[in-house]
Subunit: 219 residues, 2 copies
DNA sequence: TAAAATTTTTAGACTTGTCTAAAAATCAGT
DNA sequence: ACTGATTTTTAGACAAGTCTAAAAATTTTA
């Protein structure tokens, strides 16, 4: 079994990796955990021995499959408890975090099963953040701004930020409607505009501002 | 704030003191906590510095008022969580303990308030163990077998174990009916039979078997 | 009431997770 | 490609909680 501290490191690594999908640096973890880089290095060695992370000195870390499973289990518990506190115990969204942070470490499979049942098996918490199932699988993806993805990422359009008519009309003319597949071919360095394909055919350029207003989930 | 470990020691001391109401020994705590006497001594020094216990070397410990308040708060949380698990999450009584043992350390006043409200402010858990209120006050007493008390203990009769007619008729003849005050005058060593008074007048002897079938709460 | 048995405490060591300060490795700018 | 800045790691120390072995105090027993 992993200690509370180990669980918190795993979760921090998962979150840092989630946003940029790159190898996570020692300093980034130190900042996230409100601790010092030296302490992080010590812990990384331990997590490496336990085969929870891939780690090479000076090279940052990523989670192993085992580490990711561990992370998803903690996140599952955290998000289910947040739902519970809000829906059943009259917590406001800004009040839940600290308590869920404690509750997520409680060890009991039956408790989490029953909690899930009690909440009617929610697929996402009210933030739109997906709740992994008991096997650690995410059934829905949190949507992100298209502008945050990288070259060669493949995604499905799921929403827009700007709902103005001119914008929506522009999108329709480009074939950018809900459900279509968007692949990023290139991101130009000088203005961060994107070359994309829609449904593997239509190739076009969109500005970074446009990309910021398109919500997608990774495929 | 106290650590999990400190809280567990406080709870252990409370429980050990509850049954016999005497100064609690180092070895008794060590056994209860599944640890070694040397570790207990170390912790006792810490709890003494924090003014949670009265402690003199080699003389055992009792809780201070502050320590007792701390204990009652943990017990309140423990028993509320047990109720919750049984009533809302389909736990059996033998399944709740380990989980409640973890949940009792969660720090959040609002959480416990809402939990209490959610359960409709229960006064006792289904074991009959009383749940302290938010101020640490016990509104009902757990009833025990009269045979477990000591000389000079004073109590009120609250129930019986054996409900057979002959037994109840015998009790009535002795004046042993619900609500009457029983004081233990003497416990004979050779057969553990008891000399008692009922309502400070009638003095009589009852066998230990009879005493085992009379439920009382301490006054 | 003195010796024997038991309980409790002390002393010193180990583990986990943390820190500071200094050394080593990597990265950035020219 | 070199130099300086930054990041990461190492080394050594500390606090909490635990342990074993030995010493000290208390209790039991004869």
């Amino acid at each position: 079994m992993n200690s509370f501290t180990e669980e918190n490191y795993i979760k921090a690594i998962y979150k840092l990796n989630e946003s940029d999908n790159a190898s996570v640096t020692t300093n980034a973890i130190a900042e996230q955990m409100h601790t010092k880089a030296a302490s992080v290095t010590d812990m990384l060695k331990k997590l490496f021995v336990k085969k929870l992370i891939h780690y090479q000195k000076y090279r940052g870390v990523t989670l192993t499959v085992k580490g990711e499973k561990t992370a998803l289990n903690i996140i599952r518990k955290h998000r289910l408890w947040e739902m519970f506190l809000v829906e059943k115990f009259n917590f406001k969204w800004d009040e839940v975090h600290d308590v869920a942070e404690q509750l997520e470490h409680i060890q009991s499979d039956k408790l989490i099963e029953e909690l899930d049942k009690f909440l009617n098996y929610p697929k996402a918490d009210p933030h739109g953040d997906p709740i992994p199932d008991a096997k650690g699988k995410l059934h829905i993806q949190k949507s992100k701004m298209l502008s945050l993805l990288n070259v060669n990422d493949n995604c499905i359009m799921t929403g827009v930020v700007d709902h103005s008519t001119p914008f929506l009309q522009y999108l329709e003319r480009c074939g950018l409607v809900l459900g279509n597949e968007i692949k990023i071919k290139e991101i130009l360095t000088f203005d961060k505009s994107l070359q994309i394909t829609v449904n593997k055919k239509n190739s076009l350029f969109i500005s970074n501002d446009v990309a910021k207003n398109i919500l997608v989930t990774l495929k």
